[in-house]
Amino acid sequence: MVEQETKKVKREKIPRQPMPEQEPELRAKNFEEVPFGYSPETAMKEAERCLQCKKPACIAGCPVEIDIPGFIRLIKEGEFTKSIRKLWERNSLPAICGRVCPQEIQCEGVCIVGKKGEPVAIGNLERFAADWERENGTGDLPPKAEPKGKKVAIVGSGPAGLTVAGDLIVKGYEITVFEAFHKPGGVLLYGIPEFRLPKEIVAQEINFLERLGVKVECNQVVGRTVSINELFEDGYDAVFIGVGAGLPILLNIPGKNLIGIYSANEYLTRSNLMKAYRFPEYDTPIIRGRNVVTLGAGNVAMDSARTALRLGAENSRIVYRRSRTEVPARDAEVHHAEEEGVEFFFLAAPTKFIGNDQGRVVGMECLKMELGEPDDSGRRRPVPMEGSEFELECDLVIVAVGAGANPLLTQSTEGLALNKWGYIQADPKTGKTTKKGVWAGGDIVTGSATVILAMGAGRIAANSIDDYLTWGW
């Protein structure tokens, strides 16, 4: 009893272990990852803060229901190999989730330790376990069920598709992932920058799935190179569609097609997938602005504005039509961006882009906004203030105001019902679409969301596909 009391007191005194990271001035000039990760000692110390609750709220807060107290206990005991295996039971991409999940609104948001102080750093610990395995692990694979003799095709190699692949391969299915780009990873590769998610880590997580037996076919544009119906003709028993949203929204204002106005998709794809930040070592060019304006304030906008700094911008500004309260990006991302020197112009929106005689953007005209009544999204609607025009000088504009549904696959597939915005209709409880044998999940169903929500949808669909291939539709 006495011993337990001392332990409790000791545990309560341990503060949340900070994650060491690169200094802002330094990192704003390079593409290396911002946080360095925990050492084994720090990880074990942080793991000690977990209360090992009998009814853990954190598990309920996780879209893929990782046994969080379980993997943390194993870290505390120094059993790192067992810890990563515990994570793999529910999550095939822990190195990625540990880095990009919004833990503050999920597991960490409901952590009991967080009621009085700071929550257990679950994300940092997940990242630690995955990184430790990659760097020091045995490389042993988790167990796999006997082959079931059934084939599943997965369209898109982003977080939703990879989760379905990881879940079903261990259940004994034959899995082929079809990717339209020349490299797998989807948004993890083309969207999220190197400094937030090193591409080497994405490649290794995919390599892990390939070692489990998942086949990855790149350069396959399903809907063009091969159709969904042809996949069934080729002997696939089920198809999962996880192609992402994938349609850029551009502003419909004068000057929108001037050179130097990129969609965030294009800007980030050039930099991340095509490695234009290493031009001319890599052949794909990218416009390096001096005065850069990013429109929008979501996570993609933060990634864009921070990339611009690393590509040599003197000023990297974010123009957002609502106020700081409505910013949709994670606090951590906004904080990182501000630390690095990104400036924010709240309550402003562009009305036109100004170009020179070579068709290049040199500035934009903006209007100041004020917040009116709440709109459909429940956020207060920005209303332009008359006569408040002002000009911003800029030689690069990145439009990061969201994405829509890319129609390439959906319009070439019969029997797939879409909603009024063009997203695929799928049952939220199963991921089933209106086409027999076809499931869908992730941004192509919900519209732009997060990596982990796409993974959650992948998990649901994988279970449903397993049921179908065992019991029928």
């Binding site: 339209a180 091969v226 850029p248 551009l250 095509m274």
Partner: protein, 277 residues
């Protein structure tokens, strides 16, 4: 790897033909569609409209002009070697319909793209007059092939070294003056398509052009290839590459094609220094 099975230098080492093993693409491709090619790990994604496909053999053919680093790199690839990545078929196929009298106008390597379209238009029962042009005789490609798929073939060169001296538009004007042309298909450099469209507009003849703006993914994801057609912004990769020639904003397209001219120059110079020829 996508292996090159046939390679031909069509004119003085500046226009190159590659026949490439790509069975999945060959099975699906239709006239007017394009592929994206990437030579190696550090390479750029380059869109090229296919000049030929052979589903039985499982090959596709592209013809390109060496204009910068990426095409100079393509040029170094010999038979037996190949491209690391090829993606396709992309874009919408040509609308091939029987309309009566059709004029197919091609310039430069655009003739390569025009050839399968011309053949399809003839096969469906149109009377096809083709006009092909180049700066000079040694840059003119596919004369025999175009002759074989046209009822009549007219040739122009800017310098008069072969065929009629002048531009394709000069020959086209004469054909249009005869009246009774229902459709013009024009594929070539942007200024050529612009002036062909300007001319046919005067005659009120429907005109189709095939555009090749700068692209990244080719699947409608990035918007880099956006063009103004009428009062709308279209993505050439998924809404095109063919559009109503009378509605395209060619001046904007020409500016946008210059977006990376400095980068291209730097890249090309570095490459030429390392690979002297």
């Amino acid at each position: 790897m996508f292996k090159i099975v046939k390679r031909e230098e069509m004119s003085e080492g500046t226009v190159i033909l590659n026949e490439i093993e790509a069975p999945l693409i060959a099975r699906k491709a239709k006239p007017g569609q394009f592929v994206i090619l990437k030579a190696n790990e550090t390479g750029e994604r380059i869109p090229l409209t296919m000049a030929e496909t052979d589903p039985e053999k499982g090959t596709i053919t592209v013809i390109y002009m060496v204009v910068g680093k990426s095409t100079a790199l393509f040029k170094t690839l010999m038979v037996g070697e190949g491209y690391q990545d090829i993606i396709g078929p992309l874009g919408k196929p040509t609308d091939v319909e029987k309309v009566g009298n059709v004029v197919c106008v091609g310039g430069g390597t655009g003739i390569a793209v025009l050839h399968p379209i011309t053949r399809a238009l003839k096969e469906i029962g149109n009377h096809v007059t083709s006009i092909i042009g180049a700066r000079s005789k040694d840059l003119l490609i596919l004369e025999d092939k175009m002759k074989a798929v046209s009822h009549e073939l007219l040739i122009t060169t800017d310098d008069g070294s072969y065929g009629r001296k002048g531009f394709v538009t000069d020959a086209l004007k004469d054909v249009l003056d005869k009246g009774d042309t229902q459709l013009v298909v024009a594929i070539g450099p942007v200024p050529m398509m612009k002036f062909v469209s300007k001319l046919t507009q005067e005659y009120g003849v429907k005109t189709i052009v095939s555009l090749n703006p700068i692209m990244v993914d080719g699947t409608g994801m990035c918007g880099g290839c956006r063009v103004t057609v009428g009062d709308q912004t279209k993505f050439a990769c998924v809404d095109g590459p063919e559009f109503d020639g009378h509605k395209v904003d060619y001046d904007e397209l020409m500016l946008r094609l210059q977006a990376y001219c400095e980068h291209e120059q730097q890249c090309y110079n570095d490459f030429c220094m390392l690979n002297p020829q």
